[in-house]
Subunit: 340 residues, 2 copies
């Protein structure tokens, strides 16, 4: 089969790779229906994370089950499935607490690369969620979004404890930030402030439910949020970037007693304990426990209630994966969907 | 009148000072019934916080109202009152959200020193809570504890979102940590693990509701908490110290999806964003909005349901305030109560 491999910063190749095989009896093999490029992959692509050796790439997927191991009981060949980037048994104490990305037996599905024609999914019964039937073509993109960005945006809102009527600000206008707007709306936010300087993204944010756009950044952005909130800050702020600046912007835009949910993978972020103390801001982040939200999110997509698939503004054949990365790196695309 | 003044690290003097006067029409003057020494005062006393000039000292108090300004309407002369270390109007947006220590008009009551025979209380209507009648002598210590340490321990448990049945660990066996044990018990914790190496404090912790004692610290302490919690960590951890080590111990003793409430004033604490991210731990701290909890805490004390006054294991006449500090500095006393 063929798949994407990152050789060095900026150097993604689509090449022949070994077919994945059942290694453990809890594995499944899926034939990829769609996969995509994640904003977090850009940390590697841009050389901000170190790339030591050629590595299979990508961690988002939907597909059809082709084969299951002898210890897989609920997932069956032929099913259309969606799963998270972390495989989880969905039975351990952390899974039962709703934190499947901290499963005591978790494995990173992306380790073998999901931008490929076939993928091995560990802990298939715990990881994969099957749709009731084969989904219509119009829902493929939305379901694929649930495997990461929609689940991550949802977790940002859950971690920030968004409640009906809240004023919610979203820092970051990538696919996750845009999905966080959807999540805030679904959870009943009264006002949703999207922080974005890019006209097409502002437009999509509005379509997803943003009621206000703030184009300013850093201190100016914080001042605008304060202006919109009677001087105290937003009730909940969803941090969807992962830099020191974006984290500071999030923390300082939140009212005393409010919450920040942070889902951008932090790069060089240190939080000053004393500033956090006097701010009274609550903070929770992490790799989103997508598995926890998948059944609900799949329902919302299939019923047409939400359409996170709109974050994909570039669709390419899988063999053009390198162009998919370039387009996102140069911000020509919000998110690239790839079809084998 | 006479009051305590900190001249330099280790140098507390009890001396003649000007009588406090009504400065703003929202002020009240109280005659101090009891005051005390706070663990957070030790940061100054030990020279960890800089002491630039002689400063009136102390920020905890209960007393009898002697005089009120022309714009004070609910508080009356003759009432027995308890208040927080931060004066608050109790009407601004932050107060209404339950964060009176972030009141838009807050003033630090301790600025003029509460270890004194009389105290000016700004924003008296918003700050002070009167008891229904003059309290019995046996309740004075418990009511005084509510003005800071009991309110702060309570906030630690609220900030950590303690729920019935939770396993709660408390880092720090000072008066606040011990009051945090009371709070965890009142909020329904199933198991309460007090981290303490000091036999008299362990004993009081057990009396307050601790079900387990962990004497180990740092990595060994974290390992013990993990052992007690099936390997994943406590549901909620209450950080009542404020050092880098204690914060790390708290964060690393908490299960994924659990919460840390931190009320020790952070000194040199930096939180690594990436570690916090992958931990899935929620974090909220701050100076406790004692005012929010006072009516409830006063009820619990007067009804005999809780007795946080037991944290005072040394009672001295106010003029011996210097000895009160020495005893706490040398850990001969958990907390010193001072009577004018």
């Amino acid at each position: 089969m063929r798949g994407a491999v990152l050789y060095a910063p900026g150097d993604v190749r689509f090449e022949e790779r070994d077919d994945p095989k059942i290694i453990k009896p809890t594995d499944a093999i899926i034939r990829t229906t769609a996969t995509c490029v994640c904003g977090s992959d850009l940390w590697d692509y841009r050389g901000i994370n170190r790339v030591d050796r050629p590595a299979p790439f990508g961690h988002e997927y939907v597909g059809i089950v082709e084969e299951v191991g002898s210890d897989v009981h609920t997932i069956k060949p032929g099913q259309f499935v969606i799963g998270s980037f972390f495989a989880s048994d969905n039975t351990c104490a952390n899974c039962r607490n709703g934190y499947q990305t901290n499963c005591l037996h978790r494995e990173f599905v992306g380790a073998e690369g999901c931008q490929a024609e076939r993928i091995r999914i560990p802990l298939a019964d715990g990881t994969l969620v099957a749709t009731p039937e084969q989904p219509a073509e119009q829902h493929i993109a939305g379901l694929l979004a649930c495997s990461d960005v929609m689940g991550t945006g949802w977790y940002a809102a859950v971690a920030a404890e968004v409640k009906p009527g809240d004023t919610v600000a979203v820092v970051g206008d990538g696919a996750v930030g845009l999905c966080a707007v959807i999540a805030a709306k679904e959870l009943g936010a009264g006002r949703i402030i999207a922080m974005s300087r890019h006209e097409p993204r502002q437009k999509l944010a509005r379509e997803f439910g943003a009621t206000h756009i703030v184009a300013e950044r850093a201190d100016d952005g914080i001042a605008r949020i304060k202006e919109l909130t009677g001087g105290i800050g937003a009730d909940r702020v969803l941090e969807c970037v992962g830099t020191e600046q974006s984290m500071q912007q999030a923390l300082r835009s939140t009212r005393p007693g409010g919450n920040v949910g942070f889902v951008g993978v932090p790069h060089g972020v240190a939080i000053d304990g004393e500033e956090l103390f006097y701010s009274h801001v609550g903070l929770r982040g992490g790799p989103a426990p997508v598995r926890e939200f998948l059944p609900d999110l799949i329902d919302r997509v299939l019923s047409g209630r939400i359409d996170p698939g709109k974050v994909f503004d570039l669709v390419l054949p899988l063999e053009q994966v390198a162009e998919g990365y370039r387009a996102m790196d140069e911000r020509r695309a919000i998110k690239t969907l790839l079809r084998p």
